[in-house]
């Protein structure tokens, strides 16, 4: 019962901060709302007893990515005046596109349910870092390595972009 | 010997802009050296003098508050000649002369004396030129061993004879030590 109440409070908080992120005019405020949203999502992970995921979520998203986004917003001094006003059509299309994406994700998550069930029946703590590490580096070795290659490519791309802009100057 | 090899302190060091090696650029050796130097200071004698409890000794040539001296019979030396006022570069000294009356021979040594003798301590720079100029050995800056105290009124800094003249007890003590 109490777990359910916590979930409802957390879910309401997540949705509210997510909504405020989109709605608020000041980019700094919306970034801070997003940080709060990330924290509440980490709370959701904790409710699944996924300690590793929740902490990594905080480290990576709240601790690194959002700091960098805040950093850029502060450096560029974005105000509501110079924010380009988008027309209604693009807003609607964006909403539809994200709705569809959400639908696809929901479908995949429903499909993963049986896999979790098999882990559940095995009786071991499938959220512990030891199990997670073994699964990642044995069963899902190839996707894991591909993810690292993807990150490497992104890194090289970023370096290349910054190098190019200096050579033009 | 050329100019850039002279080292007066003997501790001159040639500065070079050569590129640091990887080990040097980690700064570890340099930091360790610095740490050794600072930890040595931890065990050194502290130089602080805890003032109200502990007072620094006056140097024998310290120049503090002026003192108008008395001779061994307790008579004031000053004859109000005005040499000190003339010598004073800060123009801090003023005085009024008066003639010694009958029966005041035990107070003043000569026929003329200073009835008013004032030093403005805000003007005084404690150079000691009044002491140099005085022909009668009447004014001294090294005798009182007192620092001029701070005050919140300008008037309080004008010291009259009540503060400047040597106290009688001191003169009596001096004459005793001479005898």
């Amino acid at each position: 019962m109490s777990i359910l109440t916590i979930f409802y409070i957390l879910a309401a908080f997540t949705l509210a901060t997510g909504f405020l992120t989109v709605v608020s005019k000041n980019p700094i405020h919306s970034a801070i709302y997003l940080v709060l949203c990330f924290f509440s999502v980490a709370g959701h992970y904790l409710m699944f007893n996924a300690q590793f995921l929740s902490l990594v979520h905080i480290i990576v998203y709240a601790g690194a990515i959002m700091v960098l986004i805040l950093f850029t917003i502060m450096l560029m001094n974005l105000n509501k005046e110079n924010e380009p006003n988008k027309n209604l059509l693009s807003k609607i299309s964006a909403a539809i596109a994200f709705g569809l994406l959400g639908f696809v994700m929901l479908a995949t998550f429903i499909k993963t349910m049986p896999i979790i069930d098999t882990y559940k029946q095995s009786g071991q703590d499938y959220q512990s870092i030891k199990v997670l590490g073994k699964v990642l580096l044995n069963e899902y070795m190839v996707p894991f390595e591909f993810a690292s290659v993807l990150l490497l490519v992104a890194m090289i791309g970023a370096v290349l972009l910054s190098k190019k802009s200096t050579s033009i100057q | 010997m050329s100019l850039d090899t002279i080292s007066l302190s003997g501790r001159k060091k040639e500065v070079s802009n050569k590129k640091m090696s990887f080990l040097e650029s980690l700064y570890i050796v340099a930091i360790a050296k610095g740490l050794v130097i600072t930890i040595k200071h931890l065990f050194r004698r502290k130089v602080t003098i805890k003032y109200p409890e502990q007072k620094r000794e006056f140097s024998p040539v310290y120049r503090g508050q002026h003192m108008l001296k008395r001779d061994e019979l307790g008579r004031e030396n000053c004859t109000a000649c005005g040499m000190c006022a003339v010598a004073c570069p800060a123009e801090a000294i003023t005085m009024t002369a008066a003639e010694r009356k009958k029966g005041e021979e035990n107070l003043y040594r000569e026929e003329k004396y200073a009835s008013v003798y004032e030093i403005n301590m805000l003007r005084c720079i404690f150079c000691g030129l009044c002491e140099e100029a005085c022909p009668k050995d009447a004014i001294y800056l090294t005798e009182s061993k007192v620092i001029v105290k701070s005050a919140s009124n300008r008037e309080d800094f004008i010291y009259g004879k009540d503060k400047l003249v040597m106290p009688l007890e001191m003169a009596i003590k001096n004459s005793k030590s001479i005898n």
Binding site: I28, A62, A64, S128 | I31, I37, T38
Partner: protein, 345 residues
């Protein structure tokens, strides 16, 4: 949930909170004393014996100062800044094992608020969140110098977090756990991690200096160039919270340094003590040993502060990205090779 456990943990957390506050308070006193001693002075000695009431006088002074609020677009964020910085400094103490177990009235008391599987990650998560205290405060001050220092501080902290994370990976590979309690237990006796991971320790030490914004990496404050950094617009106890948070963070990071690398509550001859004087006495001695180690590291922080001048900004970034990160990666590779060879033998 068992109410006895809740009460036990509640008391324990309160005690730890009080100790952290006390240590932070007396760190301010110790800082001034150490600074004075290293410069051949005596330091604060007027308030009470040896100046021991100085922190109280400082606190009173900060409380009685004018509470100044700048013309800022968001007053809430302005107050939130120091609050985050303080709470983030304190929240880490939840996973730190302050000692082994104690037997009190027939029940075993674990001297740790909570023993989670991923304690080390928790520490890093809190660490990476603590940037917001400076950043939000700096931005909400509505002052360009505060903003500049907030940006400097956040970029510095992010850069050094990378090197810090990499330096700790070698240690994790060696110990095979993320739980601080297990890590402490593995360093039983004199089997401290510093003997196996000297390079990792060095990198971690440098990074923890950068993470707590202490000299030589105190570019966030930078009195000379940025007035007072993100403190500029703060006054009264909000300012006090920033300063206090810094000292609390110093205490916590000293605790983590001594737990990760200097054997936590372990000391040579602890088995002998446990046999001859009883487990309780041996474990209480362990707590004392841990606090001695922590105090040494706090002293070390101060020692460094009064020895080395501040790094220039480009030197800071060069050190972080071009020296420490490659060194940390080399350390990981070396540790991996040694672990494989040791397994084969």
């Amino acid at each position: 949930m068992d109410s006895a456990i809740i009460i036990e943990k509640g008391i324990f957390i309160t005690v730890i909170f009080a100790i952290t506050m006390l240590m932070a308070m007396y760190s301010t006193w110790a800082e001034r004393k150490v600074a004075a001693w290293l410069q051949d002075r005596v330091g604060p000695n007027r308030a009470g014996p040896l100046g021991l009431f100085q922190p109280l006088a400082d606190g009173l002074k900060l409380f009685s100062k004018e509470e100044f609020m700048p013309d800022t677009p968001n007053k809430f964020l302005f107050i939130l800044g120091p609050a985050i910085s303080m709470s983030m400094a304190l929240i880490t103490s939840a996973v730190i094992p302050w000692g082994d177990t104690l037997e009190i009235a027939g029940s075993t008391v674990v001297l740790q608020a909570t023993d989670i599987d991923v304690a080390l990650l928790y520490v890093f998560a809190v660490l990476s969140t603590s940037v917001y205290g400076i950043m939000i405060g700096g931005w909400a001050s509505n002052n360009k110098y505060s903003l500049m220092s907030a940006l400097r501080a956040s970029s510095q902290m992010i850069s050094y977090e990378v090197a810090m994370g990499l330096s700790i990976i070698a240690l994790i590979m060696m110990s095979g756990t993320l739980s601080l309690r297990e890590m402490a237990a593995q360093q039983h006796g004199m089997n401290w991690n510093i003997f196996y991971q000297p390079v990792g320790f060095l990198i971690f030490l440098v990074c923890s200096f950068a993470e707590t914004n202490r000299t030589p990496f105190d570019l966030a404050e930078c009195e000379a160039e940025l007035i007072g950094g993100h403190h500029t617009e703060y006054s009264s106890m909000k300012m006090g919270f920033y300063l206090f948070g810094e000292y609390a963070a110093m205490f916590i990071s000293s605790a983590i340094l001594s737990i990760l690398y200097f054997g936590a509550y372990n000391y040579p001859g602890m088995d002998w003590m446990a046999e001859n004087a009883g487990a309780n006495i041996a474990n209480i001695l362990g707590i004392v040993v841990l606090f001695v180690k922590i105090c040494f590291f706090i002293f070390f922080y101060m020692w460094i502060r009064w020895t080395i001048p501040r790094f220039r900004y480009d030197q800071l970034m060069n050190l972080g990205w071009k020296m420490l990160i490659p060194l940390a990666i080399a350390n990981i590779v070396l540790t991996g090779i040694i672990i494989i060879i040791a397994d084969k033998l």
